[in-house]
């Protein structure tokens, strides 16, 4: 992140040459800065002195040029062109020019340095010896990116698209096909530059090939889509890691996109970054209303749509789709230390921040207001989980079970770990061969030995993963199943640390 200097201690940079009287000086000030107001009489002293010797002093004012009324060379720099050109970060700044080029500068007010720079021995004798300056308006929020676009070269490689005269940029984004159906934030150069402040990675770095068209995706393209999705720059580390995770072969992003099923990438964030960027792990965790959750998940979807070319009705052949295909992103609730987080269970440090990508159709809620024993609650879960896709469906199915606070308390009170609950559920989710349905999930997935006896028990998640996480609000005896197609070797959950 770019540092925002508000107050700076004066310093001097010189070429080592002796101070000289006369010459050309340039001062950058603003009325909103008490130190600038303080030094105005000093600037008048400098002007008198150097004009007498044939030199000039230019006074450039960033906010209100009347501050420099009466000076021979007063300039309104409200557009900050001069301030940008001289890379001003603090006001007042006094620059000494030699042959039209900067020779030395002082920032803030330090009498001895101003005296040294100007060669005027008794300069500013009536003032305090030292006063720090204020932040230059070139560093106001959003201004660095705006000025870089206006006066510099943003260095961004993407094609520029002109919004037709009198058109609304949001409508242009729709017309270009860049939207998922909801309005997007128009990706201007300023906004994209600000988004790129959220990562130290180079805009032209390719982070991977986005399916279905396997298009190289640069950090810059991610930033553009992150702007459109509504991200803040501080979301970028999560966004970039989420995309990289989604591109890991084990996840099978192409398959998740192209399938006729409803599934879509689900992003789960673990570790300190979730709290740092304000992600929601509690009430309405899978719902609307949290910017980080909504925008990070939406960015991945927009990258697949815009960079990869994955669009509904084309490569995306989902029969129903899901509201989750707008965005499905959340943080695991790690507040209660009695259960380790998903990431910790994989071996990551609790201090590490990670992104896990897994496929999900949406959620199915399980309700059990009655059970007070962990065994009873597990039996309730098992009935619901067994019904995923079909009670006899065992192949190519997987799930995450999100347990909310009140249900978790049943297990906490009984001293059951996450692993114990998982073990119990997997035992309950064994299905007799006679109940396994033939067909897509069917008996063809069973070995000869398994099929030999109709009473043989086959795991519901025969080749798919099953995991338990903590999330959701504190009131209500609910849990939620996030189901999906997939299985080991095709579409699997993947986890990647945010570096």
């Amino acid at each position: 992140m770019r540092a925002m200097t508000q107050v700076a201690v004066p310093h001097i940079e010189t070429s080592g040459k002796p101070a000289f009287p006369g010459g050309t000086f340039l001062a950058i000030v603003k009325r909103d800065c008490p130190t600038c107001v303080l030094v105005m009489p000093v600037l008048r002293e400098i002007e008198r002195h150097i004009e007498h010797l044939g030199g000039t002093l230019q006074v450039h004012v960033q906010d209100d040029v009347t501050l420099a009324a009466g000076f021979s060379h007063a300039y309104d720099d409200i557009v900050l062109a001069t301030s940008y050109r001289y890379n001003i970060d603090t006001v007042p700044t006094l620059i000494r020019l030699k042959d039209g080029r900067e020779d030395a500068r002082v920032v803030g007010w330090l009498r001895s340095e101003w005296q040294s720079l100007t060669g005027i021995a008794a300069l500013g004798e009536g003032l305090p010896a030292y006063r720090p300056g204020c932040g230059s308006k070139t560093l106001d929020p959003g201004m660095p990116a705006r000025l870089k676009v206006k006066y510099g070269n943003s260095g961004l490689a993407s094609r520029r698209i002109e919004v037709p005269p009198l058109s609304d940029p949001v409508e242009t984004c729709y017309e270009r096909g860049w939207s998922d159906g909801l309005p997007v934030v128009p990706p201007t150069e300023e906004r994209v530059l600000e988004m790129l402040d959220g990562t130290a990675r180079s805009p032209n770095e390719v982070i991977g090939l986005i399916p279905p068209n396997l298009v190289p995706c640069t950090v810059e393209k991610v930033a553009i889509n992150a702007v459109m999705a509504g991200c803040r720059p501080e979301h970028m580390p999560v966004v970039l890691t989420a995309i990289e995770a989604a591109l890991m072969p084990a996840f099978g992003l192409h398959g998740v996109l192209a399938t006729t099923n409803a599934c879509t990438p689900v992003i789960m964030v673990n570790g300190p970054i979730a709290r740092a960027i304000g992600m929601n792990a509690k009430g309405n965790v899978f719902g609307q209303g949290n910017r980080a959750n909504a925008a990070i998940g939406r960015t991945l979807q927009l990258v697949v749509r815009n960079v990869g070319g994955g669009r509904p009705g084309e490569i995306d052949r989902s029969v129903f789709g899901s509201p989750a295909k707008y965005s499905f992103c959340f943080a695991e609730d790690e507040d209660d230390p009695r259960w380790e987080s998903y990431a910790v269970s994989l071996g990551y440090s609790p201090r590490a921040s990670t992104v896990t990508i897994f496929p999900g159709d949406g959620i199915t809620q399980t309700i059990d207001h009655i059970s007070r024993k962990p065994e009873d609650l597990c039996r309730s879960y098992a009935g619901c989980i067994r019904a995923i896709y079909h009670t006899g469906h065992i192949i190519g199915v997987q799930a995450f079970l999100a347990i909310a606070q009140e249900h978790a308390t049943v297990f906490y009170d009984a001293g059951w770990s996450k692993a114990r609950v998982k073990e119990e559920l997997l035992e309950l989710l064994k299905i007799p061969v006679r109940e396994v349905v033939p067909g897509r999930s069917g008996l063809s997935g069973l070995t000869v030995e398994e099929k030999a006896d109709a009473d043989n028990l086959i795991p519901k998640f025969k080749n798919g993963t099953f995991n338990i996480i903590r999330a959701g609000g504190s009131a209500g005896k609910y849990s939620a199943i996030i189901s999906s197609i997939g299985g080991r070797g095709s579409i699997e959950p993947v986890t990647k640390e945010i570096k």
């Binding site: 705006r146 993407s158 698209i161 002109e162 919004v163 242009t172 860049w178 201007t188 068209n213």
Partner: protein, 93 residues
């Protein structure tokens, strides 16, 4: 903040400028709308086109908006689009 220049979020494989809809190769069998924007003498021009097209056996449908200074209502534009294959609009007097 200037919002008239946007950065392309796509793979940039599609043309930056979307081409106009191609003109039909032939108007044979097409239903032709004649759209009078209510500007002076536009009706004379469109009446004559109507005569010529009808005499040649084309199906012609006529439309008119209330005043040329007002935008055509959405309903009217939707009706023209749903009823015609192509439309001729009398723009100037």
């Amino acid at each position: 903040m200037p919002e008239n220049i946007l950065l392309d979020p796509t793979a940039e494989t599609a043309a930056a400028i979307v081409p106009r809809l191609a003109r039909p190769q032939s108007i044979a069998g097409k239903t032709i709308g004649l759209f009078d924007i209510a500007k002076m003498r536009g009706d004379e021009f469109l009446d004559r086109l109507d005569e010529l097209l009808t005499a040649r056996g084309y199906v012609v449908k006529r439309y008119r908006k209330k005043h040329f200074t007002h935008l055509a209502p959405i309903e009217l534009k939707q009706r023209i689009k749903s009823e015609c294959d192509l439309v001729i609009e009398g723009l100037a007097d």
